[in-house]
């Protein structure tokens, strides 16, 4: 069956991308899920492709459901949910000022939504990431922080402070590991993240008397 599917792909050649995607879906899912799941996911994928959303994550999710022995209706439901999340991520990133988010950014956005960020938080992070940071990266970091147990808003705040302070992408990528190191020492995820938040160093927030937080050069300083 699969060989036939691939052969059809070769033959069809210059057909529309939608058509190719459908064949690709069948080829990839054949033997892994039931026929009606294949058909339904083909339809979902076709719609997604037509809307400019990436199809690969949908295929992966269906394969995963099949491998886990999940009933057909739940596989379909999960694929639908993922397609909806990709769509939601796109709206959020568009609102953030990115008219054509990359497929990676959309996948990261969908991952962030599934990890527990809401659309507004995805939008806010997308906004603060522009123009210097790739939202595909920042969203992934924020999602992973949330997956570790850092409350979504707190993770967003931590990342915003890091981005506004001009910290490099590697520093952002290190955040989840740093949180885990803190957790291994006995902190909760939230506590570990709080310990990393450089917003604390700004001082202004904690100063009861509203003094300027930053060190003012004194006449004595060289």
């Amino acid at each position: 069956m699969r060989a036939l599917g691939l052969a059809l792909v070769i033959v069809v050649g210059g057909a529309s991308p939608c058509g190719l995607a459908a064949q690709d879906v069948a080829a990839r899912l054949d033997g892994r899920v039931t026929a009606d799941v294949v058909r339904t996911v083909q339809g979902i994928a076709r719609d997604a492709a037509a809307r400019g959303l990436p199809v690969e994550p949908l295929i992966q999710k269906a394969i995963e459901g099949g491998a886990k022995g999940v009933p057909a209706d739940r596989v379909i439901a999960a694929v639908r949910v993922l397609a909806a999340r990709l769509d939601e991520a796109r709206s959020a990133l568009r609102e953030a000022g990115t008219p054509a988010p990359s497929p990676e950014a959309l996948e990261s956005g969908a991952y962030a939504l599934s990890a527990g960020l809401n659309a507004r938080q995805v939008r806010d992070l997308g906004r603060v990431s522009r123009p210097s940071y790739d939202p595909a990266l920042t969203l992934r970091v924020a999602a992973t922080l949330t997956a570790l147990g850092v409350p979504a808003q707190q993770g967003l705040q931590l990342m915003t402070h890091m981005i506004q302070a001009g910290r490099g992408p590697n520093d952002l990528l290190d955040l989840p590991n740093e949180v885990q190191v803190g957790m291994a020492r006995g902190a909760t995820a939230a506590e570990a993240a709080e310990g990393l938040d450089i917003g604390e160093e700004g001082e202004g927030r904690h100063n009861q008397q509203g003094q300027q937080g930053e060190h003012r050069p004194s006449p004595h300083e060289p």
């Binding site: 999710k61 886990k68 999960a78 993922l82 992934r140 989840p176 885990q180 003012r216």
Partner: protein
Amino acid sequence: MTTYHPSVKRLLDGELRLGDLPPELRAEGEDARRLVAALDREPVTLSRAVDAQVMAAVRHHAKSPARRIWRWVAAPREVELRLRVRPWALWGGALAAAAGVTLLLTRAAAPVPSGAVATHVAARNVVFVRFVLYAPGAKRVTVAGTFNQWDQTAAPLVPAGTDGVWTTTLALPVGQHQYAFVVDGRRWVADPAAPAVDDGFGRRNSVVAVTTQGARTL
């Protein structure tokens, strides 16, 4: 705000003595020291009731069934996957010496392993990632994920030296992966040491990002 002279601050830090300060700063230095000297440094003794209260809580917690399950799941702390390892620590296999670090990474020139889906970007760099699970009493443990199409037979773990610890090392292409362990062919278990996301089917998947610097929690 008037600030102390930097030398006075170093005096307070203990790096300078009063005699080291220029004469015009000595008064300021003495003031500063007087301020800090006013600190109450008396040791604090807590009431003996603390002991009793702590032990009462401890006995209560020790009994709870949730704690027994937690201990099964949390025991892998000793085999934690996700400590970040500096790249320079990877070469030469010195990793294993570090207590508690079980993430083993080397860079290999090997091609993408067979079974990788053709639509993935072919990775020139492949990173070996070691997976570990503490599952005493299990008869079979495998790891399945996006890197092997969730095939629960493709990547079996083998018992490691320590009782109940299972391990395997896989060559993973660069990118973000989700995975879970499969115990005895029927129980899907997320990696307790990794961040977990909802898999959409009522369970949790673990996440790892493989980069050319190694695997990280992402």
